[in-house]
Each structure stands twice: as structure tokens, then as C-alpha cells.
């Protein structure tokens, strides 16, 4: 990260962008100024809806369908993009300004090989022949430490892992050696252990080629590693802009400070002493998909006590969610048993009685799909009340209002709405209320905060913690985010490839010595310190291991 004050590359002045919805135009970006010099990395952060992606894309002179640039200027290397013809802008895009999207899986064409998609841009812009592009791709793949760089390009997108795909996309963005790359949340969809690989790749590449970059993310710890300068956005306006170190150590605005403080939430109270009989006991469970052909869980064995929070961590595919499916009875295990309060639960949920179903509730990652978009909030929360508890009329209405108060939403304002009229955080609160309506003793939270902005996520965590104390609930908290684990867990279970590699009280897990995999997981979680990544990379180099984790 050089303190480059190179030549001015991109300059936006008073940029205004509006979007069309509900049959009128809304201002999305309300007059933003932005400057970027050659070789500089600018971090754009803010919650969803802040306009950060919209500004990022506008750097290419582009507005998404349904949006238009309605004011201000965008100067790229002296050229005005807002008035430039579409065909001239096409010549710039890909060649001089490149874009790396959040989901590489959705951005690659699944029907073409990686290297052909790499070469396409090069040939299209007349920067070289297909053969030259192939050679260059192989060199770049080697430089970003892809395994088997000479041949990996000849695979199709579904034949490489998510982290490799994201790196291949970064390599593709470099194919024409652009002056500017826009990274739009490139690591948000990845596991922490993979994320660090991609981050290292991106940073090395940007340094090696002296490329300027706009790095868009909602993760502060990530932006701290990547950016020279940070710009905080909210509601389409700049809140604050400063050099990374200054911004991290001394933010000026209250909003920025509140963003910085999010990660400080810690559960206050100690969990109550464990009762002799565990509330939920999973005993030596082995489960498979596809009629025994694909093993997903092997010998999983743990207990959850009343009033305790057990966090299950691991990367995607480690069997976290499958464990939840076994407990709920959606996936009857091949071997092993699930006990509830000392009694064995039937393996298949069809065979469980209403009361057994009522006791264990579930909250999902995507609140959007977890509530029926055609049902009003009143019906969503009211159904468990009438279904399990036989509440009708006034009693039901009174309880509905109580529940709404518990999740801190105004009953009068929300009860008659449809889910589509609520924000992500509010929908997740509705899901919590629906779970609470059944008066459960045990709630499975499956990545409940990972689709939410950090401030909103923190609110949800506080609410869950508060409810746990009031109602003596037990949580099984499935997550890949270790910051969340630190915040709320009593006990931690670390899973890898369908097996538990380590389990115990939170403090034991977070203090060394760790299991090798726990160590990798813990050390991969980005910290707010801008020097964190260099430190980790150096440590791992000494051990001789970087480059292996994501592959």
C-alpha cells in the first residue's frame, strides 16, 4: 500500500443517480464527490441501500437498468463519461476499467471454460491474439497462486471452488491491464479461510500492477486491510472520508463511530449452571444424502443445556446445517439418536407429536424466504398461536401485541403489513416472533445475521440475548462468523467435513492451544488492525502453509 499521490485518474463531482420504483424516481446517490489517483485503493463502505455499488458502477459510466445518472460529472483520465457515447464507453470497459462482482459463480458463463472467458476480453478489445491471451492467463494464474496454473483455465466454472473462481475473476479483470478495477464485495460470499486467500491475491495484484481500485464492502475489517483511503456512505451521501489509519483510529462522525463499535457487543451474563439432563442431546449421529451415497455427518455427538447458547462453526459444506436438519427431523439419520429432555425423539418429523414440534423452533438465514410473502404479519405470527396453543380472538390479539413488543416493533404499525413492506432486519424480527409464539425451549438459529448489515445484525443479536435471559431459551447458533460466536456463545462446536473437530466452553476454544483447523479458522477472521493481514501472511509463510487452505 503505497502512499501514492500519483496522477489523478478518476474524479466524480456532485454525482447524482436516481432509480425508478413505485412509479416514481427516487434519488439514490445525492451529490457525491470522489477522487482516485493512480495506484490508489479507495474503500467504499456503508450499509445496503447506501448507494455504494451504484457509485462503483457509475465509475464505468454505467447505471443499472431502472437507474439513471441525473447530475454531476465523472471524469476518467480526463474523459467525461456522462456525455460519452455508448460505443466509446464500451471500449473503456474491460480494457481500462474492469469490474469484479460479488458472486463470481453468477458472473461467469457456465457454458465456457475459464480461460476462454479470459481471452474473450483481450481479443474483443484487440489487445492480442487468443494464443497470447492464453499464455498471459497462465502467467497470471501462476502469479495469484492458483493450483496447476497451466491447466486450471481449461476447466468450466463449476469445476473449481468458490474461492478459486473469485480469484479467476480477479485475473480476468486484469486481462487487459486496466487502470482501474472496481471490486464489488468480492469476498462477501466466501468462507473466512477462503476470504483471506482472495484478499491477499487482490492486494498483491493491485500493488504489482499499480492499478487503482475501488473496493466496495460492508465489512470494516476487510476494508481496513485493502484500502489506502476509506469513504463512508449513508443514504447516498458521503458521511466521512479519510486515510484508512486515521479513519480507524479517530473517526469523526457519530455514524462512523457506531459502525466501528458494532463488533464490541458481548453477552454480559454467564449462562446458568448446566442441569443434569441436557435439553437436547445428539448422540453419535451419522447421516447421508442421496440414499446413503453421500456421507455428510460422521459420529456427531453433543449436548445443549437449558438457557445455553451453543455455536456451531465451520465453513460451508462442513455439516452445520445438516446437523440442524437431523435435529428437526427433516433428515432422519442413518445411525444415532436425538434426545429431547431425556426422551428420544422420533427420527422423522412426521412422527413427532405437536408438542415435540412446538418445543424446537427454527430461525432461518434468509428472512425473505422464511416468511410467506402473501401472508400478513398478523397471520404469520398468529398461526403458531392458534395452531399450537389454540388461542383465538382477544387472547390471540393480546398475545400478538405482546410478541410484537418483545421484538421491539410497533404492533399497530406492522401487524397488517405484508413482509415485502418490511426491511431485512424487521423481517428477521418477525421470524423471531413466530418462533417465540410457539413458546419453545430451544431455537435453532441458522446464520440468522449473515444476510444483514452489521448494525442491524447487532440489534438482532442483542434481542436474541435479551430474550434468552427472559425466557431461559437454549440456542443452537449456526454461523461461519466468529465475531458472532465471540459475542453470544457459551459453548462452541467446530465442524470440518461432517465431523466435530473441537468442542467446549467458548473461552477454552478461543484460547490456545487450538486444534490445527480451529487455529486456521480463528486466524483467518479479519481484524480492524490494518496490519493484520500482513502479520497473518508472514506467520503462515513462516509455517510454510499459505495457499493450501482455499484449495
Amino acid at each position: 500500500m503505497s502512499e501514492s499521490q500519483g496522477e489523478l485518474l478518476l474524479e466524480m463531482k456532485g454525482l447524482r443517480i436516481e432509480g425508478y420504483s413505485d412509479e416514481q424516481w427516487h434519488q439514490i446517490v445525492k451529490g457525491v464527490d470522489l477522487t482516485l489517483h493512480r495506484g490508489e485503493v479507495l474503500g467504499l463502505i456503508g450499509e445496503s441501500g447506501a448507494g455504494k455499488s451504484t457509485i462503483g458502477i457509475a465509475a464505468m459510466g454505467y447505471a443499472k437498468p431502472g437507474c439513471r445518472i441525473n447530475g454531476g460529472t465523472i471524469k476518467f483520465d480526463g474523459m467525461e463519461l456522462t456525455t460519452m457515447s455508448e460505443s466509446k464507453k464500451r471500449k473503456l470497459r474491460g480494457a481500462r476499467i474492469a469490474y469484479v462482482a460479488q458472486s463470481a459463480a453468477a458472473s461467469f458463463n457456465p457454458a465456457h471454460k475459464l480461460i476462454d472467458q479470459f481471452a474473450e476480453t483481450v481479443v474483443e478489445h484487440g489487445k492480442g491474439s487468443r494464443e497470447q491471451a492464453y499464455a498471459d492467463a497462465k502467467e497470471l494464474y501462476a502469479r495469484i497462486k492458483m493450483p496447476d496454473p497451466d491447466r486450471i483455465g481449461f476447466r468450466y466454472p463449476h469445476q473449481v471452488s468458490g474461492g478459486q473462481l473469485q480469484r479467476a475473476m480477479t485475473a480476468m479483470a486484469l486481462s487487459c491491464r486496466p487502470d482501474l478495477i472496481i471490486f464489488d464485495e468480492p469476498t462477501t460470499a466466501l468462507d473466512v479461510t477462503t476470504q483471506i486467500e482472495v484478499l491477499v491475491t487482490i492486494r498483491d495484484i493491485v500493488e504489482q500492477f499499480n492499478t487503482a481500485a475501488i473496493y466496495i464492502t460492508h465489512d470494516l475489517a476487510v476494508v481496513a486491510q485493502m484500502a489506502d483511503r476509506i469513504m463512508v456512505l449513508r443514504y447516498g451521501e458521503t458521511v466521512e472520508e479519510a486515510d484508512t489509519r486515521k479513519m480507524l483510529s479517530a473517526p469523526e462522525k457519530d455514524y462512523t463511530k457506531s459502525l466501528w463499535a458494532v463488533r464490541s457487543f458481548r453477552k454480559e451474563d454467564e449462562a446458568p449452571a448446566a442441569e443434569p439432563t441436557p435439553l437436547v442431546k445428539v448422540e453419535n449421529v451419522t447421516a447421508t444424502y442421496a440414499r446413503g451415497l453421500v456421507p455428510v455427518l460422521r459420529g456427531v455427538d453433543f449436548e445443549i443445556h437449558r438457557g445455553h447458547t451453543v455455536a456451531v462453526v465451520g465453513e460451508s459444506g462442513s455439516g452445520k446445517s445438516t446437523t440442524a436438519r437431523v435435529i428437526t427431523g427433516l433428515l432422519p439419520p442413518q445411525e444415532g439418536k436425538v434426545y429431547y429432555d431425556g426422551q428420544e425423539l422420533p427420527a422423522d418429523y412426521h412422527k413427532r407429536c405437536k408438542d415435540q414440534l412446538r418445543q424446537a423452533q427454527m430461525i432461518y438465514q434468509m428472512a425473505d424466504t422464511a416468511v410467506n410473502p402473501r401472508h400478513r404479519i398478523r397471520d404469520i405470527i398468529g398461526r403458531p398461536l392458534s395452531f399450537y396453543l389454540g388461542m383465538e380472538g382477544d387472547a390471540r390479539e393480546r398475545r400478538l401485541r405482546e410478541l410484537m413488543e418483545m421484538i421491539e416493533l410497533q404492533p399497530d404499525q406492522f401487524l397488517d403489513r405484508l413482509p415485502g413492506e418490511l426491511s431485512g432486519g424487521q423481517k428477521q424480527r418477525i421470524c423471531i416472533a413466530r418462533a417465540l409464539a410457539a413458546e419453545p425451549t430451544f431455537i435453532i438459529c441458522d446464520e440468522v445475521t449473515s444476510a444483514l448489515d452489521q448494525l442491524v445484525a447487532e440489534g438482532i443479536l442483542r434481542l436474541l440475548d435479551h430474550l434468552q435471559r427472559d425466557l431461559n431459551l437454549a440456542y443452537m447458533f449456526i454461523t461461519h462468523d466468529l465475531a458472532t460466536v465471540r459475542a453470544i456463545a457459551d459453548e462452541v462446536i467446530v465442524m470440518l467435513q461432517g465431523q466435530i473437530v473441537e468442542q467446549g466452553p467458548k473461552d477454552d476454544i478461543f484460547t490456545p492451544p487450538h486444534h490445527e483447523y480451529t487455529d486456521l479458522l480463528l486466524s483467518s477472521v479479519p481484524e480492524m488492525d490494518p496490519d493484520w493481514m500482513d502479520r497473518v501472511v508472514n506467520e503462515r509463510r513462516e509455517k510454510g502453509g499459505l495457499g493450501a487452505a482455499g484449495n
Binding site: S21, E47, S48, S53, C67, R234, Y364, H375, L422, G425
Partner: protein
């Protein structure tokens, strides 16, 4: 997530926008006012047909099968559109035809949707062997050309109106089944269905309350199109003599009965055909608008 097009910031702290007045009538009125020109024309056409069908006895100058003049009489003051091959008033029969043809088509389409829709949702929700059984049965039925199959069945079971409705209904239900199953499959994988299952809800609740409301828009759009097809099938069968039987007035058979006039350059036989065509166009205008509206709704979520 949905950054452009949704400028409303999605923090919990921001108060939600005030809800517009939402009485069903007000919403319908507002939608109607904003509807594109083609949709308004379509609605006007449909309204006219319904009006004519409902008040046929009042509007029509003569009775449905009353013989009131010479055969193939020319257009005159007494008989504005002339008379048919038996001397019945053409205009009156056109008006009564709206009642019969449209009424029977509507019943048939409703039956097709009830049967096909229910089976489609069930197949998607239950999956497994039930899905296999229903889907393969439908495949077999669809493998036989529909019009020929309908003629065959009508010949076997006889050409009563009930048989007509049942046979065309079953054959068209196969198409409805495919659509209902396909859209339901997208819904049954959602977490809220899993949530309902884990709550212990029965099949009736899951299909009717959880799945059905979410597949209504495509089904309603399909209803409009299917209605046109059913309508055309009935007319085609009537033209072939297997549909609605005389002396009941029906546009399909009216084309056949007066078809000799075409040889003499008279356009009278084309009038019932035009009645069919105009309704088809009207329904399609409305369906297009509805499809556009519901696909727009999807973007908002």
C-alpha cells in the same frame, strides 16, 4: 441486495413510508386508471360481452331458435344482419351465442383449473411416487393430439354439453397441471414451506394457504389464455358438428351453418368468427397487462 430501485434505506430505525389507502375498491380503481390503453380496450370488450350474455333476452330482437323469416334473408330493417339457413334472426342468435359459447367455455376453463391446479400443486408438494404417477399420466394424455382426442371421446360418450365440458376440461387440465406443478416447485423449496412442515401443518394448509397464494399470478394469467383456447376448441368442435348441438345458438356452428353464403360474397358467416376473434384479442390484452403487473411485483420482493 436490492440497492438500486429501492432508495428506502433498510435500517430498522427509519420509519416506514405511510401506506397508501388500501381498500380493495380504491386499489382496483387506481390500477384501472393506470392501466395501459390496450388493457382498457380489452376490459371494455370483456365487459360488453358479459353484458350482452347476461341480458341476451332483453337485447335480442327475436328468440334464440325462433324462425322469423325466409332462409338466408339479406340485411334489412327487420333483420339487421339477415337470417340464417333456417330463417332465424342472425343478430339474435349472435347475442344468444355469447351466452352459450362464453358460458360453456368459462365453465370448462374453471373445471380445467380446478382439476389441473389441484393435481399440479399436490404433485409438487408431495413429490415422490405421487408426482411420478400424476406427471406420467399427464404426459400420456398430452401425447395424443387434443382436438382429435376430444372428437374421439365425444363420439364415444355422446355429444351432450356435460360431456363437452368434462372432456375438454380434462384435456386442458393437463396444460394447467404442467404450469401449476412447475410454479409450485419453485415455492415448495422455500424456507416458509419447510417452516410450515416443521410446525406440523397438514397437507390442506400447506397447499391452500402456503403454496396457492404464491402461484396465483401465473395461474390467473394462464386462466385468460386457457379460456381463449377452450373457447376456440369448442367453436372448432361445433363447426365440425361435435360441439354444442342445434338449436342452441353457438358461434362455431353458426359459421358452419351459413358458410354457403361465402360463395356469394356475403360476409355474414364471418360475423360469428369476428365475435370469437374480438373476445380472444380482448382477453389477451387484459392477460398481457396482468402478466406485466405481476412480473413487476416480483421485482419488488
Amino acid at each position: 441486495m436490492n440497492e438500486p430501485g429501492n432508495s428506502a434505506p433498510s435500517t430498522d430505525s427509519v420509519p416506514p413510508p405511510p401506506r397508501p389507502s388500501s381498500s380493495a375498491l380504491a386499489v382496483a380503481g387506481r390500477e384501472l386508471w393506470r392501466a395501459p390503453f390496450s388493457a382498457k380496450v380489452g376490459l371494455l370488450i370483456i365487459a360488453t360481452y358479459i353484458f350482452v350474455a347476461l341480458f341476451a333476452p332483453v337485447i335480442a330482437p327475436y328468440g334464440e331458435s325462433e324462425i322469423v323469416g325466409p332462409q338466408f334473408d339479406v340485411w334489412s330493417e327487420d333483420h339487421p344482419l339477415g337470417t340464417d339457413h333456417l330463417g332465424r334472426d342472425m343478430l339474435s342468435r349472435l347475442i344468444y351465442g355469447a351466452r352459450n359459447t362464453v358460458g360453456i367455455a368459462l365453465l370448462t376453463t374453471l373445471f380445467a383449473f380446478l382439476l389441473g391446479g389441484t393435481c399440479g400443486i399436490l404433485a409438487a408438494t408431495l413429490g415422490g411416487w405421487m408426482d411420478q404417477l400424476l406427471s406420467r399420466t399427464v404426459d400420456v394424455l398430452m401425447a395424443i393430439p387434443a382436438l382429435i382426442f376430444a372428437m374421439l371421446l365425444l363420439t364415444i360418450f355422446g355429444t351432450s354439453i356435460i360431456n363437452l365440458i368434462l372432456i375438454i376440461g380434462v384435456l386442458d387440465a393437463t396444460r394447467v397441471f404442467r404450469i401449476a406443478r412447475a410454479v409450485s416447485l419453485n415455492v415448495v423449496v422455500m424456507d416458509f414451506i419447510e417452516s410450515a412442515r416443521l410446525r406440523g401443518e397438514g397437507l390442506a394448509w400447506i397447499t391452500m394457504r402456503e403454496v396457492l397464494p404464491n402461484i396465483m399470478p401465473p395461474l390467473v394469467a394462464e386462466f385468460g389464455l386457457r379460456f381463449c383456447f377452450v373457447f376456440l376448441t369448442i367453436s372448432a368442435l361445433s363447426f365440425l358438428g361435435l360441439g354444442i348441438q342445434p338449436p342452441t345458438a353457438d358461434w362455431g356452428s353458426m359459421v358452419r351453418d351459413t358458410s354457403t353464403l361465402i360463395t356469394y360474397g356475403d360476409i355474414t358467416p364471418l360475423l360469428p368468427a369476428a365475435a370469437i376473434a374480438i373476445l380472444t384479442i380482448g382477453v389477451n390484452f387484459v392477460v398481457d397487462w396482468f402478466l406485466h403487473k405481476t412480473s413487476g411485483l416480483k421485482d419488488e420482493h
